[in-house]
Symmetry: D2
Subunit: 137 residues, 4 copies
């Protein structure tokens, strides 16, 4: 369970139609830190407005939700439900974005995760925090 | 500016590639209450897992963000940036979902909006609260 | 358990040294709606700055936490832990404040509560939303 | 303005009756990182229940609000209003608690701050995130 690989994690992402729609890819994982890195390319259909090269906030929130979720998956070994999600938008993103999700507290019933989102120029564009159920699995 | 119509609001939604991708439609608006109702159909590509008929949480968060945003548009008369967003997931949704966004405070620089999401059986499936900038426009 | 009275609720508040320090009083409760109303007087030591007649935001957050907590107590019949809390400050409060807490979702493990805070002039000064554990008790 | 000292920051805290009531002390500040550390002793009147040695959540939320606020003061040079505040409670705290507030984004109109709270045994007991207005001052 704690031996989950990037390939297995990616297969879990690919099993979700909505995550496929947003073309998210697992970049790396760290089982010790309970940390997962997920990226999302900038496709024209993810833009806020045509030609701006800026993601819609909903796409960014989705990436944050998924990255946070899979950080808890590292702990629990199976998909977990999101209880709640908080997103602060800090700057417009340039190009593809990367979310780094780190479990802050892996509790018996709830896991709390921080998710930092950076863009191609490595600027912090959004930060998220989510609570996930950990009894599933 | 305060005379914005459903058609104009829908045209603003249709001008956003990401909102088009999620096929959101304005159902109604109330200029007095600063309230907007937006719906999203359940398409296979929005599902959490294939065949579950359940939206992925990121799609629900996106609907909440958009509905909240356009409630503030009623006040401001133009698109506004999301500052931050909180989403609480209460129950799995059955079928298409509807978000009712109501401005709680229309301030000079910030608007705060509550968004209730119900499903086909009119059950409350998620609630959102967002802060939006109001100086744009 | 569902027959809890105002006097019993007030006794629970009075059993908490911090709640006593802030002199909170239960105004009313509604067991059907899972709704509790709690007030807090404006004492000089609760002010943000001397003589402003304005509460410090921490005092307002405390009132919101307590009111939300006791709305869930109506459901559970015993004290419950706060999982997380969001507070939006909308306007400076004039004089004593009143929090109306309403359970939005009473789940098996988590309750989600909305808390509206109004001042003496019945203006909405802050809104809160909290998640509370419901397995205790 | 950027040359604010611990003594000046403490004097600002002492100018607030509510902060005095909770006996908060500035431990350190870092002007480069826009980081402030504030501690709060465990007094009997701050307890959730008598003799538990556990802070009420409202006191913890208040410490988080104040620490976040004064991290932004380092940037702005004057007191700033809290726009909203999010608190996740992770574990019961043992003894006095310390909040480390770090500005994540110092914007023209809004500053976003992360606040970590640890107890005497250096365990992470709560995490906060706040938005503050930065146009004041």
């Amino acid at each position: 369970m704690s031996e989950i690989t990037i390939e297995q994690l990616q297969a879990m992402l690919d099993g979700s139609p909505f995550i496929c729609l947003l073309r998210m890819r697992v970049v790396s994982l760290d089982r010790e830190k309970l940390q997962v890195v997920v990226e999302m390319p900038l496709a024209p259909e993810f833009e806020r407005h045509p030609g701006t090269q800026q993601f819609h906030g909903g796409a960014i929130a989705s990436l944050i939700d998924v990255a946070g979720d899979f950080a808890v998956v590292l702990q629990v070994g199976a998909g977990v439900p999101t209880i709640n999600l908080r997103v602060d938008y800090l700057r417009p993103a340039i190009g593809r974005i990367i979310a780094t999700a780190t479990v802050r507290r892996a509790g018996r019933t709830i896991g709390v995760v921080d998710i930092d989102v950076t863009d191609e120029e490595n600027r912090l564009v959004a930060i998220g925090r989510g609570s996930y159920g950990t009894t599933a699995g």
